[in-house]
């Protein structure tokens, strides 16, 4: 099992007897992998790039504010300093804040193995709860984020407190020349794009109340009751956050530049 920052793998480690009996493959010494590389068309995050690396990167903050917003809301500094974007993808949690914003920016995942590299769009990466297209022999080599002219972007995370919180319901909305992207997390077995909500935005549909959104939301996601929240709460909050983003902030208005 590959290990980078260990912030997921080592939780409650002392009770996970036998967990270490899998061979741990330590990636943490591949120092060059801890990078932000800019080209004309994209930003590439290395396999070991941490949340903190992005938080302190002025260019990333400016051009991809949702990355910073999500990173600052992951745990607190102790997690941000060790947790990696690639690890967030690899762990495949439906509550992954980093995955949510990367997906909203149309990021792709570069998987590497002895057989060569394979690039997978993050929005196609997950097959189900904690399942992904990554084969055991593949490692995440990097994450590529296209540089686009973004005209609107929002990230909303709802957790039980303002830091150190696992997301109960989360939402990222991004509009660029590629169109609208709406991504929700903690409301389905995987972080996922919401095509019905995207279609509403593309069509410039009038959304007069959060309740109007429920049919689209129910097509896109399937929240559950668990220790952290309820399905009803998640669905309701998602509808209200989306509505508020569109109505109160006006990001969906057609006359917007």
């Amino acid at each position: 099992m590959p290990i980078a920052g260990g912030t997921d793998l080592l939780v409650d480690w002392h009770h996970r007897l036998g967990a270490e009996e899998k061979t741990l493959l330590d990636l943490s010494r591949l120092a060059p992998q801890r990078s932000l590389e800019w080209t004309r068309d994209s930003l590439t995050l290395g396999a070991l790039t941490t949340y903190w690396d992005v938080i302190v990167n002025r260019q990333a903050r400016k051009e991809f504010p949702l990355l910073e917003s999500a990173a600052r809301q992951v745990g607190a500094i102790q997690i941000q300093s060790r947790g990696t974007w690639a690890g967030n993808i690899g762990n495949a949690s439906p509550a992954a804040d980093g995955v949510c914003v990367l997906m909203a920016y149309d990021a792709t995942v570069l998987l590497a193995s002895v057989d060569g590299d394979e690039e997978v769009p993050l929005s196609d990466y997950y097959l189900g709860y904690k399942r992904s297209r990554r084969r055991p022999e593949q490692l995440i080599r990097s994450i590529r984020i296209p540089r686009r002219r973004t005209t609107a972007q929002v990230f909303e995370k709802v957790g039980a407190r303002r830091a150190q919180a696992i997301t109960k319901v989360g939402l990222a909305i991004c509009r660029s020349e590629a169109g609208w992207r709406v991504v929700a997390h903690s409301v389905a077995p995987t972080v996922r794009r919401c095509p019905s909500l995207e279609a509403l935005l593309e069509a410039g549909a009038q959304i007069s109340s959060p309740a109007d959104l429920l049919p689209a939301i129910r097509q896109d996601v399937a929240p559950i009751d668990d220790l952290r929240s309820t399905a009803v709460y998640r669905e309701t909050v998602l509808s209200r956050l989306f509505h508020s983003a569109v109505a109160d902030r006006g990001i969906g208005r057609r006359d917007e530049p």
Binding site: L10, W13, E20, D26, A76, Q78, R82, Q164
Partner: protein, 158 residues
């Protein structure tokens, strides 16, 4: 590394300014190494799941939860624990009520020291946001936050 084979690995790292070299297994956490094998019990375990921050140490200069760090990753790193903190620098914390029961305190002081060493962080972050990874059950945080602010003021005056 593989734990089932009992594989051991020798690692070398810098701990509180000194070189350390020792054998570790795949199962050991940095926290256990510090507390039970290196005789540095100042770093506390509060939860074992990376929530409370009592086990915070500086890892190449950044705060990390040492309960979430496998010991073998220490190879080549620089680690600083509470034992490295200069008591003379703690006046504002003593004065300001930053400690009560003391169990969260070593982690709090380590994170505080990181802030004091990097005051530029406050251009983008508040002290409360930066301290949010250190749970304290005694102080309600005011004693901690005010002590850091007082220490920053003292520092700024120098």
């Amino acid at each position: 590394m593989n734990g089932s084979t009992g594989e051991r690995k020798t690692i070398s790292f810098t701990l509180n300014g000194e070189s350390v070299s020792m054998e570790v297994t795949a199962r050991e956490r940095l926290l256990d190494l510090l507390r039970y094998r290196l005789g540095l019990p100042g770093t506390k375990e509060g939860c074992g799941e990376g929530e409370c921050g009592a086990c915070t140490v500086l890892w190449n200069g950044l705060p990390v939860d040492s309960c979430l760090v496998p010991a073998f990753q220490a190879e080549g790193r620089t680690i600083e624990t509470i034992e490295s903190v200069d008591p003379a620098a703690l006046g504002p914390f003593h004065e300001g009520g930053a400690t009560q029961c003391g169990a969260c305190t070593p982690g709090v002081v380590i994170t505080a020291r990181w802030i004091l060493d990097n005051p530029g962080l406050l251009k983008t972050h508040t002290v409360r946001e930066l301290m949010a990874g250190n749970l304290c059950r005694c102080t309600g945080y005011d004693g901690i936050i005010e002590s850091i602010e007082a220490a920053l003021d003292t520092q700024g005056g120098n």
